[in-house]
């Protein structure tokens, strides 16, 4: 007869969500994995090779090397956010989220399962972009620990943000507004293509209010050993955002906002 709840049953439940998410990502790989690789190849060719040659150096290194960490982070942020919004909102829209809502799984594990799926996609895409970058640049990663910590934490932060977006979304348009009008401008202005030192006076201070700038620069420090901002505040910002967004996600799930009547 029926199962009871235990740590083992919860672990199996969590693993099931992660496996389901991975299967989804791999099943539709032409939509999930290939486009970022193609887009980033174009960035490397156009900005890195063609325009980069004229720019020369940025932050004390060839422009091509400078933009590699930023473009990896751009892919990680976009894919982490996009994965969870499309998957969770899709489940909500198709009502198969009810499979999870009527199950014994507590909200934290449902959230962890979806965030893990987004993290795996972000890491897969990040690794693909790194492979593409290897064709254009002779990179060697300076601090492995910092590089991995920043990419994982940043991916989790944006997965949590995407989850909130998907929770409130009523139609598919609602999951494209934030990426288009908020995330993309913030990422482009977050030091992906330029050093913040290039900005004049007040604009430099405004740029420093952008949290993505800290994420990109912490990642750049991990890969290249250079950064526009100190590492400690960068980690504090990433972890702080993660905790706040995580708490909001759990509150929404427990209340059933946008999910339960």
């Amino acid at each position: 007869m029926s199962v009871d709840v235990s740590a083992t049953s919860y672990w199996i439940g969590y693993k099931t969500i992660v496996i389901k998410e991975l299967n989804r990502i791999l099943r539709i790989w032409p939509q999930t994995l290939i486009p970022p690789a193609i887009t980033m190849t174009l960035y490397f060719v156009i900005f890195g090779q063609l325009i980069g040659r004229r720019i020369g150096e940025m932050g004390g290194m060839p422009y091509m090397d400078f933009i590699v960490p930023g473009l990896i982070m751009l892919s990680v942020i976009t894919n982490s956010y996009g994965n969870i919004t499309s998957s969770f909102f899709g489940a909500k829209f198709g009502r198969h989220i009810e499979e999870l809502l009527i199950s014994p799984l507590p909200p934290i594990l449902i959230l962890a399962g979806y965030v893990s799926g987004a993290l795996f996609r972000a890491l897969m895409v990040g690794a693909l972009v790194l492979v593409v970058a290897a064709f254009f640049s002779d990179l060697s990663i300076q601090h492995w620990g910092i590089t991995i910590a920043v990419v994982v934490l940043t991916s989790i932060v944006f997965a949590l943000g995407g989850f909130i977006n998907a929770t409130f979304a009523q139609k598919f348009d609602d999951i494209s507004i934030i990426p288009t009008f908020v995330l993309q401008p913030m990422t482009y202005l977050g030091g992906v293509f330029f050093s913040v030192e290039l900005l004049p006076g007040v604009w430099e201070n405004i740029a420093l209010a952008n949290p993505i700038l800290y994420m990109v620069n912490a990642f750049r420090y991990g890969m290249l050993g250079v950064s526009d901002v100190p590492l400690a505040p960068a980690f504090a910002i990433i972890i702080g955002f993660g905790l706040v967004l995580g708490a909001i996600c759990l509150t929404l799930l427990k209340r059933g906002t946008g999910l339960r009547t």
Partner: protein, 312 residues
Amino acid sequence: MHALDVSNLKKTYKNGVEALKGIDLKVEEGDFFALLGPNGAGKSTLIGIVSSLVNATGGETKVFGISVQKDRSRAMAQIGLVPQEINFNQFEKPFEICVNQAGYYGVPRSIAKERAERYLKQLQLWDKAFRPSRQMSGGMKRRLLIARAMMHEPKLLILDEPTAGVDIEIRRSMWEFIEGINVAGTTVILTTHYLEEAENLCRNIAIIDHGRIVENTTVKKLLGKLDIETFVLDLGAPIDEAPRVEGMEIVLRDPTTLLASLPKSRSLNALFTTLEARDIQVKSMRNKVNRLEELFLRLVEKPQAAEEGEAA
């Protein structure tokens, strides 16, 4: 212990609609229970609260003594739900849908695969198990909902109109499957609009209307309340007008079919005497099948009429 124990359950939606007005309901362990009611009566809201998809405004729901509101996870482990609407991912394959559902309840993958095969075979879906579920017919999708709900072998299976829009052959095979599950010990709660389904399958019944339980008894006792019987008479030759017999209501449904309603206490002799006197030949006669339907309509019409009276 009760499989389901609902006390003073209330639900008022944000738009002010009072879907449940303090419902009390008990379903015994092992029962095959019918929950009937017209559209909008509150059945789906009640099922939504029991399965934690809808938050109650007041009252308590216990499943095998476990409070849905206070200990949701343990309560949910006891329930399997077959919803009214198709709600699985139609891009996934039936086998995958079943195995994943078992996983959410903590069933190890190896056991989940065995169960998926067993239930998909029992519900005649095994040949579709590895094809995208969107390619299945409506009846197949409904059977997949049942297979999915059985994956963690729940102690309480709730079926919300499981046979809606399903042809009679498939409906009967679904009845057999659900009856088998009940015989094996699973408590079953069924909502349906096919009243003969409830009459044939269920032992106990509750009728809900306008957010209140208007009847809660055994199917046998409920049918015992039916004091008027209706007979269908197939005639040998067409007639123009229904004959009149005192104390009976006789309606000509079509030129060769008469419907005769009379109190159970009355004999049919007077009817046949009148028919013979008018030289009307009766080829065959049978009871009108939907006895429960007659009762149902009377029960749900009464409170409505009372409320309309109050409003006036």
